[in-house]
Symmetry: C2
Subunit: 406 residues, 2 copies
């Protein structure tokens, strides 16, 4: 009985949970922390706003000075943004700019558009007056602490730090932040038929795209990556590489990911190399990407992805990426939406199929290539993974399907 | 009459179109090109797959050898992946692994599961035979060029290079790629009330969050950023900085973005500094982020964003980011979806309101903070910009709204 997609994802979450508890933290300048996950709660060292300030260009007033039918007030010295104004005396109105501090005594702002005259008097004018309508206390005043109070939780541990979160930390006066140290992944691509891009391609060989595809995916997800060269189909040479990297205490890897050699052929190098290590090779009820390896090697968490490029990408997106989001707080989960099938499709009985498609601006979903897991050109045209759950074997054009936006 | 959001976005597109035509290209190793835009069309230097290969572990056969009721065939030498096999003689079936080259003469693959016996004979066995069912020509054969033919367009100029696109280039044997040189932006935050994070905060002052928020947004969108220090509200010192950077021929900036000083208060430093330059300051029918500046300074495209952090982020997301996507090919457009309002909301007559909200796993949308453009803590909790178009002034709980996922 193959394992469900959800059950295998949960197994990856559990595998990573062990890997990450021992992981450290880094203190980084704010902008270097972009895309990383906060290591610990941040509490506000000051209130935001730090002082009551005006939401409008207008006149700061004592609201009690103005009866229901309005009043004429003396114009006080103007309050520019950034200045500490004198207290406002009764009977006066102070010209005030957006963001400027509300003077002591004032409790409301009348916008300049509602004043008569509706322009600020020249700064050199003496004894100027202004007619203002009545105003409720608090009008157009941004109170101290109305966004966040000093001491309150600003961002919880695990928060993914994007522009808005870093902007908040800057607004709080912070210049650096503790982030979770990214995991270091050892990425090994295998196969006698695979050669490095740029080398000569002899008959029967193909260029390795898995290494580039997965390293790019991992970097985008915030992981650090070390690569071995392509491992051939000799288990002994693969084992040598795995031992060398998993026993390197200077630069310990947190996770090993291999590609290829996990299915049921006659030459399955990863299965052979893992014999004697606590690693399961199992079918997951998913297409492509059904055969998966999961366990540990020398105590380091291990994932064995299948060898086709589309299977690698689907394995990463369906298992490792969401598990990282859950356990590490980074990367962000893929945006999930529904789209309308522009064409009918079929899916195998008993499998969760992951097809590649393009969602247009009109919300219509067109398939990119067939189900074949070697179709890397079709993959490169897709902007979405199409999720066809177990139990659905046919969908008509016009049907709604769930897609994950790449 | 304020300008519409769409009209202002189009004006930004036109402004950037001029800026980018003169921009160069960079040749980068594949992984360094992640997130950048392809500078020129890439045509396939080889076909994918480069040779006909097996989609299954099984037996390569001449389909004509097997009548409808099956046949017993001699077992030929096995074909591992990566090898160039001998031609298949009539009456023989060759054990073949997934991805291995189809031997000359063979035209179909019978999966191992359908063979009798359903396991490969030992490589040392002599005179082994296998019973196989009939098979249509082409079955489980991935034809040469079925993903892409040599010489065909692999990726068009402007393609955003993500993991799948880089994986395709690697599969084509390429090791480097020409990308569009990222724009260099001069980012200037202004305001007498604004001080750098880490400095002392005296009365009436606030920390600059716009610089961090916008630099992070710009970096995420693939731009390079240079910053001046915070400019005070003296137009002469702002002009000095702008002249210095826009006349620097060693490191020419492609775009100038300022924050603050664009509305109608008494001290609008950006408006004052731009007097005599071809820059318009105009209201856009949007809240927040209504006042906008657009033009050129010393021939360099210029955008003046408002001074509040939420207005800055909204200006970036509604105008600059989508214009970059359109003109430069990078970054990807924000994922757009609909969500269900968990609470009622109101929006001002005649304005496109952009609220901040959180879309939950259940598709329900909760507002983060009110409409106030100073609410940077609320912004940091949001995962979506909520789009409430002109003409909509009230929405009930349960209504569908468009959101852009951050």
């Amino acid at each position: 009985m193959p394992r469900s997609v959800a059950a295998h994802r949960q197994a990856v979450v559990e595998l990573l949970t062990g890997a990450t508890t021992s992981n450290g933290r880094l203190r980084l300048p704010l902008l270097e922390a972009l895309g990383k996950a906060l290591a610990a709660d941040v509490h506000a060292p000051l209130s935001l706003p730090p002082f009551a300030n005006s939401q409008m260009d207008g006149f700061a007033v004592r609201s009690a000075d103005i009866p229901d039918d309005g009043a004429e007030l003396w114009v006080a010295a103007p309050v520019p943004a950034g200045a500490e104004p004198a207290a406002l005396k009764s009977g006066f109105a102070a010209p005030i700019m957006t963001g400027a501090m509300i003077p002591d005594g004032a409790d409301a702002v009348v916008p300049i558009e509602k004043a008569t005259p509706n322009a600020f008097p020249d700064a050199t004018a003496r004894d100027a007056v202004v007619d203002l309508p009545a105003v409720a206390p608090g009008t157009y005043v941004r109170n101290r602490g109305s966004d966040i109070e000093k001491g309150a939780l600003a961002l919880p541990a695990g928060t993914l730090l994007g522009p808005a979160q870093l902007g908040l930390l800057a607004a709080l006066g912070l210049t650096a932040v503790d982030v979770r140290e990214p995991l270091l992944v050892l990425l090994v691509t295998t196969g006698d038929e695979v050669v490095e891009p740029g080398e000569e391609l002899s008959a029967g060989k193909i260029y390795d795209s898995n290494g580039t595809l997965l390293e790019a995916s991992m970097r985008q997800a915030g992981l650090r990556v070390v690569r071995t060269g392509i491992s051939d189909d000799d288990p002994a040479s693969l084992l040598t590489e795995l031992h060398r990297h998993t026993r390197n205490t200077d630069n310990p890897v947190d996770l090993v990911v291999t590609t290829g050699g996990v299915s049921k052929g006659a030459y399955e190098v990863v299965r052979q190399a893992m014999a004697g290590h606590p690693v399961d090779f199992l079918p997951v009820a998913m297409q492509p990407g059904g055969p998966q390896g999961l366990g540990t090697f020398n105590g380091v968490p291990f994932l064995g992805f299948p060898g086709n490029p589309v299977s690698c990408l689907v394995s990463f997106e369906m298992f490792l990426r969401p598990a990282l989001s859950q356990v590490m707080g980074t990367p962000a989960l893929r945006a999930v939406r529904t789209a309308i099938l522009a064409e009918p499709l079929t899916s195998p009985e008993g499998k969760h199929q992951v097809r590649r498609g393009s969602v247009g601006a009109d919300g219509m979903l067109r398939m990119e290539g067939g189900a074949g897991s070697h179709l890397v050109h079709a993959l490169a045209r897709a902007n979405a993974l199409v999720q066809i759950p177990v139990g659905v074997t046919e969908l008509a054009a016009g049907a709604e399907v769930e897609v994950w936006m790449l």
